[in-house]
């Protein structure tokens, strides 16, 4: 075992003015965005927004790595102690007439997740938060949280033309050895992080 812990970033400089990771980016001050901040959902569908006013967010848990370690009892105990079910800001919950611990249904056109609700100031008003990574076996009463979201990066979500030509064009690029990540930044398809995750919440019967 080495005496000093291995440092993956020793001697690393980043392609920024300071050479560091800029959590605070001085160059962005004129734009008023020196810190990364909450941005409204990238969904222009006003009709759906009227129907499902809440933003569903499957947060990544700090005690897990995606779904890795979800079978470790100690970590599960910690994770479930922080939150079981869906977390709502008390303000949002009051609008919906819910009380802490109520059994609720989080739903949209894709499905329903039936879980208890949990009040937390951790969560921004207008959001419904569930921990990502728990498998289908952890949802006794409904489908898992992942059924509510759809990646907007798929060809069909972008436009019918892309749906036809997307797979073909990707095939050509792969054959030519072009990295997949380069294709994503070339503007052909949407960023992978854009998900349609609007939902609403109601008390379960």
């Amino acid at each position: 075992m080495p005496a000093e812990p291995y440092d993956n970033y020793a001697g690393t400089t980043f392609n920024t003015k300071s050479g560091k990771i800029e959590f605070y980016a001085a160059g962005m001050v004129p734009l008023g965005a020196a810190f990364a901040d909450y941005q409204k959902t990238y969904i222009h569908d006003e009709e759906t927004l009227q129907k499902y006013p809440l933003h569903f967010y499957p947060g990544r848990h700090k005690y897990f790595m995606q779904s890795q370690f979800t079978n470790v009892p100690e970590l599960r105990k910690l994770a479930t102690a922080t939150q079981t079910g869906v977390a709502l800001n008390p303000v949002t919950a009051a609008e919906k007439g819910l009380e802490d611990g109520d059994l609720v249904e989080v739903f949209n056109d894709r499905g329903v997740v039936k879980v208890p609700c949990h009040f937390s100031n951790f969560i921004q008003p207008g959001m419904a938060h569930l921990w990502y990574a728990y498998g289908v076996q952890d949802y006794d009463l409904s489908g898992p949280a992942t059924i509510l979201g759809a990646n907007q990066n798929i060809d069909e979500a972008i436009d019918p033309v892309a749906a036809t030509w997307g797979p073909f064009w990707r095939g050509v690029k792969n054959a030519s050895g072009m990295p997949e990540a380069l294709g994503m930044s070339s503007g052909e398809i949407a960023n992978e992080t854009i998900w349609d995750v609007l939902c609403d919440i109601r008390r379960a019967e």
Binding site: K62, Y63, E74, L78, A81, T82, N121, I123, Q124
Partner: protein, 138 residues
């Protein structure tokens, strides 16, 4: 006689529980047995912040109970305690605070120069007396 200390930089602790978990696993403890645990300084619950959105505050502190042996066996072999060795944010340091030029005394002076205040564990926590927290503010 050397004075062994665990120095905790409270500003660096991210509340990941690695210290508690590595101790739990490496010492083959029972399922709910922990020699140290991580306390959330917030509104009471685990990882639950104090205040109302968006004005929230939360921090963590590892609490070393009297069951902690400060890894006497590892120290005898010239190794760091498991918790210190595995802390990913280097919030924990172990060593001789009195010894001039030791890593821990250097860090202690560094933090003092930054205006950090030394805080001892609260008596009701039944904590190891060797622990020192370095915290910001009043």
């Amino acid at each position: 006689m050397t004075k062994r200390t665990i120095l905790i930089d409270a500003e660096r602790c991210t509340g990941c529980w690695t210290c508690a978990m590595v101790c739990h696993v490496a010492n083959h403890l029972e399922e709910d047995e922990y020699r140290l645990h991580v306390e959330t300084i917030g509104s009471g619950g685990l990882d639950e912040p104090a205040g109302e959105f968006p004005n929230l505050s939360m921090s963590w502190k590892p609490v070393y109970t009297k069951k902690c042996t400060l890894c006497a066996d590892r120290i005898a072999d010239g190794l760091e305690p498991y918790c210190v060795r595995n802390c990913p944010s280097e919030a924990l340091l172990h060593g001789d605070l009195v010894e001039e030029g030791s890593k821990i005394s250097k860090r202690y002076k560094e933090l003092q120069a930054k205006g950090r205040r030394e805080v001892k564990p609260f008596p009701w926590e039944d904590s190891r007396p060797e622990v020192i927290y370095m915290v910001k503010g009043e």
